[in-house]
Amino acid sequence: MTIADSGDDPADVVVAALAAAVSLAADQIKTSQRLAQIPGMESVKILRAVVRIEDYYHINVPDDFLFETATVADLIDLVARLVKESR
């Protein structure tokens, strides 16, 4: 699944963007994982995933959040909140 066909559920969009950044299948991304601990992940790839999420929803993820040692679930929750606030 790519971000383009992941629908409107932030969980699907976030996982698809992260998976694409490291060339993994979406089911290989565990929501309990810290972003930096996803196999193959590095800072530039996290930023690429965030760009895709931001552009998809037209939101801005606060950079202070990205500094933190956030998990995939944390990012999904944040994106869901930002999307809700933007509508």
């Binding site: 800072s43 530039v44 930023l47 760009v51 950079d63 202070d64 500094f67 040692t69």
Partner: protein, 334 residues
């Protein structure tokens, strides 16, 4: 990625340093090696090395990424997008005290050479006596480090500093200084001079770079400092780090006025007022105004005078394709 040939100025051959191979080029462009090599050889000057294949100037490759990417995901695009995001945040956040754990890490390839004695690597230390910069005491620094328990130890000459940086809202009053500053902003915004990546050889000849129609933050800050001094004012160019998700080398000019060094940041002002496409910040007029006199809480100067390079290898500026990684982690002291 599409590419044309007219939007940035290639480094003239007499100043070029053709030492970037297709693997590094691919990383910067975010493309597979073959595709990146084909694109770069089509649009950039290069020399062909029998062993390494085509070699490009690093600044040309960065410009190709910045000017012709339609993905917004090349390394230079990402740096610009995230580093300058603070400009769109509320004004108070530009100046409020901010605690930073800054880690400056040489890449393994350089460290290995330094440690086996085959090369001399030096990194300019941060200027911890700069206005607004206060080094944290050991307990506060430890509190910041606790937020990053997984961070690896940094080997010298890399270093880590924990600082509190406080910005200051101010404005430059001198009419001559404001005029010279605005003249340069207008030249960049009007396209008479292209804001683009410039290699270190041309940065050292900043007047010539400007005449060639190209400038980056180093060229612009050095030239503005020259012009301010020529006008009888006290000014200096500074170089340090812009702290953010990915730290970046940055340069700015400072004017001494009212017993203070006031930053004059042409690069920020251009990107906030005249940049185009992915190089434009959606900043407010207040941010543009702040670029002429205010000090932001995300800039950590190095000790090098005249905006000289921060990293040297065997007495020469280190190759830009072996960048020193700068990570800046904000936090709260105890």
């Amino acid at each position: 990625m599409s590419a044309t040939t007219s939007t940035f100025i290639r480094v003239p051959a007499s100043y070029a340093r053709y030492d970037v191979d297709t693997t590094v080029t691919a990383g910067l462009l975010g493309l597979p090696d073959g595709e990146a090599g084909e694109l770069a050889t089509t649009h950039l000057p290069y020399v062909r090395d029998p062993g390494r294949g085509p070699l490009f100037d690093h600044a040309d490759v960065v410009n190709l990424a910045l000017f012709h990417s339609n993905t917004g995901c090349t390394v230079p695009d990402l740096a610009l997008r995230f580093l300058l995001r603070f400009a769109t945040a509320p004004q108070s956040t530009w100046y409020e005290p901010r605690w930073w754990l800054v880690r400056v890490c040489p890449p393994p390839a350089l460290l290995d050479r330094a440690r086996d004695g085959s090369a001399q690597l030096s990194i300019e230390p941060a200027d911890l006596a700069a206005p607004g910069v206060v080094p944290l005491d050991a307990p506060d620094a430890a509190a910041l480090r606790q937020a990053r328990p997984t961070a690896k130890a940094i080997l010298p000459p890399g270093y880590e500093v924990a600082v509190r940086i406080t910005g200051a809202e101010a404005t430059v009053h001198d009419g001559r200084a404001r005029g010279l500053y605005q003249e340069m902003v207008d030249a960049l915004a009007g396209g008479a001079v292209t804001y683009q990546s410039v290699n270190e050889g041309l940065r050292a000849r900043h007047r010539e770079a400007w005449q060639l129609g190209m400038a980056d933050c180093v060229v612009a800050s050095r030239l503005l400092a020259d012009r301010l001094r020529d006008a009888g004012l006290t000014a200096r160019a500074r170089r340090g780090y812009l702290l953010g998700l990915v730290g970046s080398d940055h340069a700015w000019c400072e004017l001494y006025e009212d017993d203070h060094w006031k930053p004059m940041d042409l690069a920020f002002a251009f990107l906030a007022s005249g940049g185009s496409g992915t190089r434009r910040i959606n900043a407010t007029p207040e941010f543009v105004a702040a670029c002429c006199g205010s000090r932001f809480n995300r800039l950590l100067p190095g000790q090098a005078p005249d905006a000289l390079p921060l990293v040297h290898l065997d007495g020469e500026p280190a190759p830009p394709w072996l960048p020193v990684a700068v990570s800046a982690h904000p936090g709260e002291a105890r």
